[in-house]
């Protein structure tokens, strides 16, 4: 077995319910999560992220497939036998225990000696900067503090993998940003493999080493944030991560012929009929005569640092370009104006259908 793989899910299927009412929350998911990486499962609500996490934690048994931890089959192991800990979305802190007792819980269950527990709890509380609150009841903590307790509690037994199910979704924006940095720091400092679930694409892009994009029980694409953003495999990934433009095209001896009749260059693909995609920031606006494609401005939306310019192509396709707003805020563009479009070389991507 490859020693660099922490978690390996192989053809995992999870069905809920029976017969006609059966829902396949996970449909043949295969995935390798490397040791020590910050791996994010990203996808819209109901796509099966929590289900996959619960299978790894052992709260659910898969209907099919295998789950390996460090090469050993843990598919049917109960959760209290897996060296894997979870940070729950609701935190699920023990209300009858203090902060320190919460953090100590896992260590005590593992039968660690009293001195070892005390030392480790102190270390964990220092790590999440909660020493002053050690003897508080958890009900007397703010959301951000509870979050830290949950983290410390899950990290204390030094799990091989830490699972985090949308741990930041209950926090307000400012705290969320702080905790994103905090989480990343914890992951780097502890070197523990993090499997992080979110449906916030920005969160995924900024924090992860690698991202697995899910939709409807399927794993759509796995890759680094850059790969996922710049080379999305299919239409779902392209549209879920950031904003993008879709252009229908057919294969042509010279490259691809867009529906508006213009021939462009893009990486070769199998299919004759394809969808090309290009990010709004990779469209350049030039005077009408100098552009590759003529377009007409249909709307301008000012966002402060940048301005979104909505345009329609001759065949009616809608595209959006993101332009940096000039310092005086006047772009010199007008709705209804004709303009030329240019693609940044190499930016056009071909999507699998």
């Amino acid at each position: 077995m490859n020693q660099t793989i922490a978690i390996s899910a192989q053809n995992v299927i999870k069905a809920f319910g029976q017969g006609d009412h059966a829902v396949r929350a996970l449909d043949d998911v295969s995935l390798d999560i490397r040791k020590g990486e910050f791996f994010t499962l990203l996808g819209p609500s109901g796509c099966g992220k929590t289900t996959l996490l619960r299978l790894i934690a052992g709260f659910e048994m898969p209907s099919g497939g295998t789950i390996l931890l460090d090469g050993a089959d843990i598919t049917t192991l109960p959760p209290n036998k897996r060296p894997v800990n979870t940070v729950f979305q609701s935190y699920a802190l023990f209300p009858h225990l203090t902060v320190a007792q919460n953090v100590a819980f896992g260590l005590e269950m593992l039968g660690k000696s009293k001195s070892e527990v005390t030392a480790r709890v102190a270390e964990m509380l220092a790590l999440v900067k909660l020493e002053p609150l050690a003897h508080r009841k958890t009900s007397q903590l703010s959301g951000g503090q509870q979050q830290r307790v949950a983290l410390a509690r899950a990290l204390a037994p030094q799990p091989k993998v830490l699972l985090l199910d949308e741990p930041l979704s209950a926090l307000d924006l400012k705290l969320r940003k702080e905790m994103q940095i905090e989480l990343k720091r914890l992951q780097t400092e502890t070197g523990i493999t993090f499997v992080f679930v979110t449906h916030d694409q920005e969160e995924a892009l900024t924090m992860s080493d690698r991202i697995g994009v899910m939709s409807a029980g399927h794993l759509q694409q796995v890759g680094s944030p850059k790969e996922i953003y710049t080379r999305p495999k299919n239409r779902f990934v392209a549209s879920f991560i950031g904003e993008t433009n879709f252009l229908g095209a057919t294969r042509d001896p010279m490259g691809y012929r867009l529906d508006c009749g213009i021939v462009v260059q893009a990486p070769a693909a199998q299919a004759d009929r394809v969808t090309l995609t290009i990010r709004p920031e990779q469209l350049r606006l030039v005077p009408e005569a100098e552009g590759d494609i003529p377009a007409k401005i249909t709307n301008l939306v000012y966002f402060g640092t940048d301005t979104h310019c909505h345009m329609s192509l001759p065949d009616g396709t809608e595209v959006t370009a993101r332009l940096q707003s000039p310092s005086d805020g006047e772009s010199g563009l007008q709705i209804g104006q004709g303009i030329g479009l240019r693609f940044v070389p190499g930016a056009l991507q071909v999507l699998e259908e």
Partner: protein, 325 residues
């Protein structure tokens, strides 16, 4: 009860506001005083009622316990501590010495023992029951709770007589056991401590289940997963998470069962016959055939003291358990 409570909140708000403002004017202080006064005023009816209904009878009992018994019941106005020594001792007719009265001791002991057993057993049965109900889908819970509370709809006397009908020598239970060939002779259950225990368990079970249900219903089931995730076994999850978290429900249920069980009258009367008396029956005896009202009074006060002491010890103990974790 709500009178004093609401009066208190009404008065405490302006008072705390006053503390924060540095230069409170005389007018403001007068206002605070007025609202404190109106708080007391509002709770007066409740306080009067409390005094009349709780403290009054208690005082009468206390006074009666130091008087001498009248020949045909009631009391005569002469000071005596006989009623108090009479709880545990009898005075020898010949040499006037005090002897421990075994019969009284056994009644006291039986009362405490049966009440504790009832409390423990209703908990043992009530906890899984309450857990079961609390984990049913919302729609089914109403039905289960309704079933649990059905006995409340019938008079206690009738329910106890029904148990009597089941347990008596030619009763349902014995007939079934004989019919099945498990026994040949009827077993004597009725008029034993066992019968009283069975009856009290039946009668007080809902009082244990309901507060337990309320506590378990509020229990966040996600804590179970958190426990398993942190390497706890099922037993550890029960002992370290479930029981401490639902502890308020356990305390409430135990008090609700133990207190009335200790003073039970109807159940031991019917199922224990005349012999297996508990304090309640013994007290009644003093006010009836015994014609010793002072002894009845001193026994009543003793019962109250036992209950209060038991509660104090229990709550203190339970709280220490909670903080210890």
């Amino acid at each position: 009860m709500s009178g004093p409570a609401s009066g208190k909140t009404a008065s405490s708000k302006p008072a705390s506001g006053n503390q924060t403002s540095t230069g409170a004017s005389a007018a403001e202080q007068a206002l605070v005083k007025a609202s404190v006064r109106s708080g007391w005023l509002l709770s007066t009816p409740a306080l009067v009622l409390l005094a009349l209904a709780a403290v009054g009878p208690l005082l009468i009992m206390l006074v009666y316990s130091f008087l001498t018994p009248g020949e045909y019941g009631n009391v005569e106005w002469g000071f005596s501590t006989d009623a108090w020594t009479g709880i545990l001792f009898t005075r020898d007719v010949f040499d006037d010495t005090l002897r421990l009265e075994d019969a009284h001791l056994s009644i006291l002991w039986r009362s405490v023992k049966l009440s504790l057993m009832t409390t423990a057993f209703t908990f043992a049965v009530g906890f899984p029951t309450a857990w079961f109900i609390a984990t049913r889908p919302q729609r089914q819970r109403g039905l289960w709770l309704f079933l649990i509370t059905i006995p409340f709809w019938t008079n206690l006397l009738i329910r106890t007589l029904a148990i009597n009908e089941i347990l008596r020598t030619e009763g349902l239970l014995n007939n079934i056991l004989i019919g099945l060939g498990l026994i040949t002779e009827p077993i004597q259950i009725i008029y034993t401590d066992t019968a009283v225990f069975i009856g009290m368990t039946y009668v007080y079970l809902p009082l244990m289940v309901l507060p337990l249900f309320a506590a378990i219903d509020r229990f966040d089931m996600r804590l179970l997963e958190a426990g398993y995730d942190l390497y706890a076994t099922r037993l550890q999850v029960l002992r370290r998470i479930i029981l401490p978290v639902v502890k308020p429900g356990i305390i409430a249920g135990s008090i609700l069962v133990f207190v009335p069980a200790l003073g039970a009258y109807v159940t031991p009367r019917i199922l224990g016959g005349g012999k297996q008396m508990m304090i309640g029956n013994f007290i009644e005896l003093q006010f009836g055939q015994g014609r010793n009202w002072p002894l009845g009074a001193s026994l009543s006060v003793t019962l109250l003291v036992i209950v209060t002491a038991a509660l104090l010890v229990y709550v203190r103990f339970a709280n220490r358990e909670v903080t210890r974790g």
